[in-house]
Symmetry: C2
Subunit: 226 residues, 2 copies
């Protein structure tokens, strides 16, 4: 029994096997092979929202220093087709899918959109069968590792990186100079230069001084080929 | 105390008033008036996902006959800025907001985006303070009514409507004729005509016969000026 094997792989046993079967049934299978059966599309709709709340809750509580914009970017990188497809590959989800003949012949088992959708439908299956806590445990197993990977991209602090490079030479002095501050109180605009000794090596703009400094450091790093 | 009044309006008393205060604090307030305080942006990020799972779960379970595409459209209509802004108005959320001076002068209390964001942040406040069940109760209070309104648009069944009009005259006979079926099994395309006695009064296309029939009925209704 294919499903029993998958249950072992994901570490969750279904009370009601129907949910798992639906999660694995691509619409091409229902249209061609088993008319009248239920495809995974509706569960995918639900699984998408379950995934989003679990990831959002996790990021909100574990990255309390990150502003909303960064949280949103990080969430988007975790719930995108690419990530979901990777998660699906980790459990070999493709081999358990029910596909129509055409889809099978055209390599549907490896198609990223089919795998990502089925993964979301599988999330909904666990949610419907065992509730939010089980769905959460399942999702976080994948998400925590992925966050560690994404962190390197998202948590980059340009000022720290620049500082680390510059301080290798003790005589070099880095400083940030605010060269412009404009706009009404509720919509400020800042321009900052980063100076190496007395030379401007980068310039940045932002809605806060901190943002502008980060952008200046980023430009400096780019100019230095980092 | 503004917050106590709002608690009565929404029917939820906070254990930790901090969450409510954050939900009401627009970024302009934090930037200008109370530097170092926390704005509602991060809670808005979280509230968005809480809203989505509550609405998705409700639609999934209460509209089991609706296909995924319709569920997605319906969800989008419920969680859009327009709906959220209406919900915010129902509890007079604008008057409880903390805004910066500029925002206040420019009518920020009535601005749809500010109201919608604050409403999402308020959802997160209840979720963080009281858990998912309380957030759910709060959200469904608004959503159930809204679904009833949206239903009229989304649940329209063109075939039924056409049938009801035609059967006012007992001699008229309505029939649906499949005139084309093409494409490979996994990507079928259907064309259906709707006949009134022997006259074609509408033609429709779709990925299933049922969809094509609905579209044919829709065209007939349009031609009849309905």
């Amino acid at each position: 029994m294919k499903e029993k094997e998958l249950e072992k792989v994901i570490g969750y046993s279904f009370e009601n096997a129907k949910y798992l079967q639906i999660a694995l049934s691509h619409t091409s299978y229902v249209n061609e092979v088993k008319k009248g059966a239920v495809s995974n599309e509706r569960q995918e709709f639900l699984g998408d929202a379950v995934l989003s709340i679990v990831v959002s809750d996790y990021l909100f509580k574990h990255y309390s220093h990150l502003p909303e914009g960064e949280l949103t970017k990080l969430r988007a990188s975790l719930v995108c087709e690419k990530s979901l497809c990777e998660f699906a590959h980790m459990i070999g989800l493709g081999q358990y899918l029910y596909l129509g003949r055409g889809e099978e012949l055209m390599g549907g088992r490896e198609r990223p959109s089919i795998l990502a959708d089925a993964f979301e439908a599988l999330i909904a299956a666990i949610y419907l069968d065992g509730g939010m806590e089980h769905a959460k445990r399942f999702i976080l197993g994948f998400v925590k590792k992925q966050v560690e990977k994404e962190k390197k991209v998202f948590f980059k602090d340009y000022k720290t990186t620049l500082q680390e490079i510059i301080q290798q030479n003790k005589e070099e002095q880095l400083s940030y100079v605010l060269v412009q501050e404009s706009g009404p109180d509720h919509d400020k605009h800042f321009v900052v230069e980063v100076h190496l000794n007395s030379n401007v090596i980068g310039k940045g703009e932002g809605r806060s001084k901190k943002d502008a400094e980060q952008m200046a450091a980023k430009e400096a790093l780019e100019l230095m080929g980092e």
